[in-house]
Symmetry: D2
Subunit: 253 residues, 4 copies
């Protein structure tokens, strides 16, 4: 048996909170080699000098476009976890990739495999149940309610139900002076709990006469994103072009 060469990985934003975790995670594997760590003030070309095959970007909305441009230019595949990538930038990236059909760029808003799976399962199940509601639970320092993930989950559920010709679930509530029924996002009720002792949790509840299905996701720390990052790093080279979201690299058949 011929030994497979480890993939050569470089990290952009290597001294940030997420970048530090990524460096540690890559070093903890056998099939990946950490060959470049770049942060503010470092020379981008050190990525190329180290023969980086896959770059992971956890930097800043203001620099991420330049970084992606550089990687594509240097024939380096790219996994992007930096936030703030809008659809205009996605189009721009597609344009940059056109002359390089063998190159892959993966833009991933959420590396939590559990979060991605629960959203997908919730949307799949939503067309088979009369009722669906979301309870999201977070630490009390969060400024927004509901959470962005709950908002996105509600949208995905609403789309799936619309596709299946389903409207909102049954609800005879006529008296709710204090909004105990929570927010309604695209027809889906969303409840936000804020409590000391919690981190980030979400529960999608589905029900039909006689049965209920609950999909619950608990995220306790940043370490939980690393399996998703590694999965993206391992997949990007075999997925030419632009890919958005971790879901497409999960094997869900």
């Amino acid at each position: 048996m011929t030994a497979v060469e480890p993939v050569r990985v470089g990290v952009l934003g290597a001294r940030g909170r997420m970048g530090t975790e990524v460096c540690r995670a890559v070093e903890g594997t056998e099939d990946l080699d950490l060959v470049a760590m770049v942060d503010e003030g470092d020379w981008l070309f050190s990525l190329a000098d180290a023969d980086t095959q896959v770059a992971v970007d956890f930097t800043h909305p203001s620099t991420v476009a330049d970084n992606i441009r550089f990687c594509i230019d240097q024939n380096i595949h790219c996994v992007v976890g930096t936030s703030g990538i809008d659809s205009a930038l996605l189009d721009t990236i597609r344009g940059w990739l056109e002359p390089k059909p063998e190159l892959g760029v993966m833009v991933v808003p959420n590396f939590g495999i559990g979060a991605v799976l629960s959203m997908r399962f919730a949307a799949q199940a939503a067309r088979y149940f009369e009722s669906v509601e979301i309870v999201e639970l977070h630490h009390p320092n969060k400024a927004d309610a509901p959470s962005g993930t709950a908002y996105r989950t509600a949208q995905m559920i609403a789309e799936a139900r619309a596709d299946a010709g389903l409207g909102p679930g049954p609800d005879a509530t006529t008296h709710d002076p204090d909004h105990a029924r929570g927010a309604v996002v695209d027809g889906v009720h969303v409840h936000a709990v804020r409590m000391a002792g919690l981190v980030a949790h979400q529960q999608v509840m589905l029900g039909t006469a006689g049965e209920t299905l609950v999909i619950r996701h608990d995220s306790l720390d940043r370490a939980s994103f690393m399996p998703g990052v590694l999965l993206a790093v391992r997949s990007v080279a075999s997925r030419p072009g632009l890919t958005v979201g971790l879901e497409s690299v999960l094997d869900l058949d």
Copy 2:
């Protein structure tokens, strides 16, 4: 060993939904004898004729006062599950009982032992946690949100916290345009889920940095009230005077 005589029990409202269950439950025990079943159109005196020792009343707000009066007059202890007993009537009952210091009347708004225990536990724990929130979940035919039980639980929690000098839990929410944070009852957030497949459920969640405690109660059918009814029937004779609520007959030391 001398055999203990079974207690002679009569049921008022014996053909109603709850009354029927009570008759069946009493017949299913060895220490209680069902000696009288009375409903609309029947003669109240059949209770006395059958030497009833304890009467159970599940009738109607319009007749319950007369029934209690009759039982006290005939020296029959009384367990009352009929709703609509206000504090004026409670005072009246106290007056009726004065000349009969050996007689007991027990008025019980909720015979669900699990519900009563969870409210009590929630209130006891509430003084030891920074945050408390309530999620109540019911079938979609319910007209009110939040449920009466959730409302009462929030009040009990708020009283316990006030006693302990605690204010509302920490909450940094600044943006909640759609009321995802639910109702606020006496400073306690209450969330109401309405879903096909559910019956009647309540979850009190308590949290402090590093730990959470959840007390969850699920009520699936009317049968769940019978242990509470039987407990009251067995206790009333040894509790002279007026007793309100099942809690006082639960042994909670």
Copy 3:
């Protein structure tokens, strides 16, 4: 717009527990017509006389083969919920169907859509988490532990993990004299709770450092199988040949 004719449905075992529910469920829809109800002692040909398009069989292992044979012979599509159909009988049915390429037979071991979805989700997720365990919870009258569903779920999880090259989850237990760690089915720990007040519930728990995913299914009564039966009835005519399991007619993309 031309009105679509309702599908003509016949029920075999129409007076049994499940058959009765199926008749009621079919009558409650607009796109299905209940045209024949057949039970022990009735004439099978009444199905054909009523121009039945789809037959639903909830009879007995001893008669189900004859019933299927009859339906195929009469060009009636067939949904089979009767238990006891082994792989030999499945092969026989395939043989019967050969000369009738337009005809569909659907054999469904579990009509609970929630149960089918949770098993599938559990198997899909199992390849992305280090640990997976199953807790199944049932009423105390159940004779077997673990439940058949838990057993089957564990097998599906084990297959998915083997495909992904994963072994059993981490477990440092060295001292467990009383088997608190439960049963191990194909490398997956399965715990069985038996408790008054429960019906039929299953919880698949998956975990990786920093995050957990829980898929919980609660089945409260037989009514919960009807949406699955109706889905099968509506799908069978457009699925020629033999189909096993409800999963294949669920839209899970």
Copy 4:
């Protein structure tokens, strides 16, 4: 209003994992003053020199007895979190305290208020439900199953049920070849889940026909013990003699 002087607190084992947390917690309060931090190699008399009123001991089974002896001798109240205090040592401590009726020593096996409350609630509720089972869930590095807390909880439940004349819950299981029903501790079934992503969790489930009650406790980090430590420090001076367990200082009426 006269300002109350802060209580002067000294910590023994101040550089250990728990001791460090205690020092930080005491410093974070206004009514307590951290006046002495003592660890291996330091002079015990520095406690007395600093006029310590309450000492907190998180040291080692081999030194804890000497430390307690010293504190009593120096008229310092004592809160002991060190493990390994058996009933013989408790008797010895009682002897030491005899000549000092005003002095308090509190020995606390578990400072988790949530854990203590859930055990107590479980035992109180256990006499009112037909069935009780425990599911404890921990990280996969734990060597023992079931956990000590689950073991103790089962014992408390069994005692409460014996007091109430209750035997084990109903269970028709006749076929359980692989021990899916878990361990049986004093008649109570205990199930142990070991999973990556978990920390320390316990769920007591109680059920009667038609209703269930679940008491769930989740402990995520050591910080969760600090409220219990502070509660003990604040209470010990007003509780002369030996007190065992945090429960006695919780206000649970």
